[in-house]
């Protein structure tokens, strides 16, 4: 057996999760199916996805809230990498798949019931990433899905990391940390604009929010392009960065 990485051990970790949490899983997905029978538009689905996803993510390292649980988890004969991967698979890949299935099933049932009870003839909206019902399977549509998935995956990664750092009230503390980071970045941004361009209001106006449609009279095109690339790369690196930090945090975890 490979001592560094074993798919069999990952399989056992996943099996452990499903057997230990079968009731939780059953309740969660049943409740969400009912919710999606009622709320059948993409906007509510996206909001529910983010909230339930975050709640789902922080559960994984809740074991460290109570020492005997933490000891039991750390003593499971699997590497910390395998444990991190199993958590990633569950709270990102499995969650989004189940969410899609449950959203679709809820929508179909909800729609059928509505047709039966109220004799309506609405079409079924089977895309929770799109707020418009006119979603088409094209490059732009896929790009939107990819971005939405990215946002979800980033939130999952942040909340997983938060649950490893904070023993209690991980959700609240993670949100608070995000707020603190945002305020700190805002202050930094304020001073950079003030020192570099003189006026913060004018600079923000020229930046045209976050759409990278910057005023070329103030910002050279090269800067806009560089900034755009920087943000794209940062966005892609942010998720693996959070997971790598989570892995090291788990490796160094003491109880």
């Amino acid at each position: 057996m490979n001592q560094k990485f074993s798919l069999k051990r990952i399989g056992l970790l996943l099996r452990r999760y499903f057997i230990e949490n079968q009731n939780y899983e059953l309740y969660l997905w049943s409740i969400l199916t009912i919710v999606f029978m009622i709320f059948r538009n993409g906007n509510s689905a996206s909001a529910i996805l983010i909230v339930t996803g975050a709640l789902y993510a922080v559960r994984f390292f809740k074991v460290f809230n109570f020492a005997p649980n933490g000891i039991q988890y750390l003593l499971i004969p699997a590497t910390q990498l395998e444990k991190t991967i199993s958590v990633f698979l569950l709270n990102t890949v499995y969650f989004i798949l189940m969410f899609t299935v449950v959203f679709s099933v809820g929508n179909v049932i909800g729609n059928l019931l509505e047709q039966l009870i109220f004799s309506t003839s609405d079409t079924v909206a089977l895309q929770f990433f799109q707020s418009s019902k006119s979603f088409e399977f094209n490059i732009q549509g896929l790009k939107n899905i990819w971005i939405s998935f990215g946002v979800f995956a980033a939130i999952q990664a942040i909340f997983t990391l938060g649950s490893l750092y904070f023993k209690r009230n991980a959700i609240l503390k993670t949100l608070l940390s995000l707020f603190v980071v945002a305020v700190a970045l805002g202050i930094l941004e304020y001073f950079i604009f003030k020192i570099t361009f003189g006026s913060v209001t004018e600079t923000l106006k020229a930046l045209n929010a976050g759409d990278f449609v910057w005023d070329e009279n103030i910002f050279p095109k090269a800067l806009t392009e560089t900034w755009k690339i920087f943000w794209t790369i940062s966005g892609y690196l942010f998720i693996p960065f959070c997971w790598i930090v989570s892995y090291f945090r788990l490796t160094e975890k003491e109880i």
Binding site: R9, L12, P68, L74, I76, P77, Q80, I255
Partner: protein
């Protein structure tokens, strides 16, 4: 084999727990760690299992560094903490989930231990069992994993009197040549006739580490109506019947080891005990 060399550890900057801790444990024995509350017995077990890391020094368990928590080491360690995790699974499902991680786990053995402990239904939810019963389930599982190292932290806490006897019987029967069993307790009487090696901690140090056969060879445990005086008497304790005492065994007389008396003797007369045992060839600390 467990080797602890020059280990330093503290939970906070101001309170050093271990300084230069040394310990060597060989397989084929049931080692009992005795010590007052707060001596660091549980911390020592956690360090051996890789749950906490020493700030300085080295720990080697079966040739592995515990802090790395490698699967090949973890599958050879079973650690039963004093406080038990709340498990929402049935006994049957618990076995289904955790047994595959331990390559030497034996289902028949597990069932046998459960029967011995009079825990009948595998379908019982572990969480719904009493503390003592829960402990028995974990102990039965731990022994059935057939790991090379078994660490038990205060295993007899919460067990009723018959269960304590069953525990001693089962633990003794589970000892094998390649297995190290390390039991930490402050209830010394519970380990009577179970352990064959005694480690005593005092002031966060290992002050005594001897095999039981060496102890009775060097020390004499006796009872008398009158208190004996003399240089060879190391410790004396008055009770309703008279006096229990520990003295230097000069005549090679055989006596029954009284762990509680030994513990008190070591704490009261630590220096002399050290001198007595440092003369023997198989010195262990």
């Amino acid at each position: 084999m467990i080797q602890i060399k020059h280990v330093e550890f503290s939970y906070s900057r101001n309170a050093q727990l271990f300084t230069g801790l040394e310990l060597s444990l060989s397989p084929g024995h049931i080692h009992g760690i005795l010590g007052k509350n707060g001596e660091g017995k549980s911390t020592l077990l956690k360090m051996i299992s890789g749950m906490i890391f020493p700030q300085k020094g080295e720990i080697e368990v079966l040739g592995y560094e515990p802090r790395k928590r490698q699967p090949e080491m973890l599958r050879e360690i079973f650690f039963l903490p004093e406080e038990l995790p709340p498990i929402t699974l049935s006994i049957e499902n618990y076995e289904k989930v955790y047994a595959p991680f331990y390559p030497h786990f034996n289902h028949e053995q597990f069932q046998g231990y459960l029967q011995e402990f009079e825990i009948n239904s595998g379908k019982s939810q572990i969480n719904k069992l009493s503390y003592g019963q829960k402990k028995k389930v974990f102990m039965a599982f731990g022994l059935a994993t057939n790991t090379k190292i078994v660490l038990l932290d205060e295993p007899t806490n919460g067990l009723d009197i018959p269960s304590k006897a069953q525990f001693r019987k089962m633990t003794a029967s589970a000892l094998e040549e390649e297995r190290i069993m390390l039991i930490s307790t402050h209830q010394v009487r519970d380990l009577d006739s179970l352990i064959d090696s005694i480690i005593i901690m005092n002031s966060h140090q290992i002050v005594f580490n001897e095999l039981c056969e060496n102890i009775t060879e060097k020390l004499l445990f006796s009872y008398g109506k009158e208190k004996s005086e003399g240089e060879e008497v190391l410790y004396s304790e008055e009770n309703l019947r008279g006096f229990d005492q520990v003295s230097i065994n000069k005549t090679g007389e055989e006596s029954k080891l009284d762990i509680e008396l030994l513990f008190n003797t070591v704490l009261k007369n630590h220096q002399r005990i050290r001198e007595i045992f440092s003369n023997q060839n198989n010195k262990r600390f």
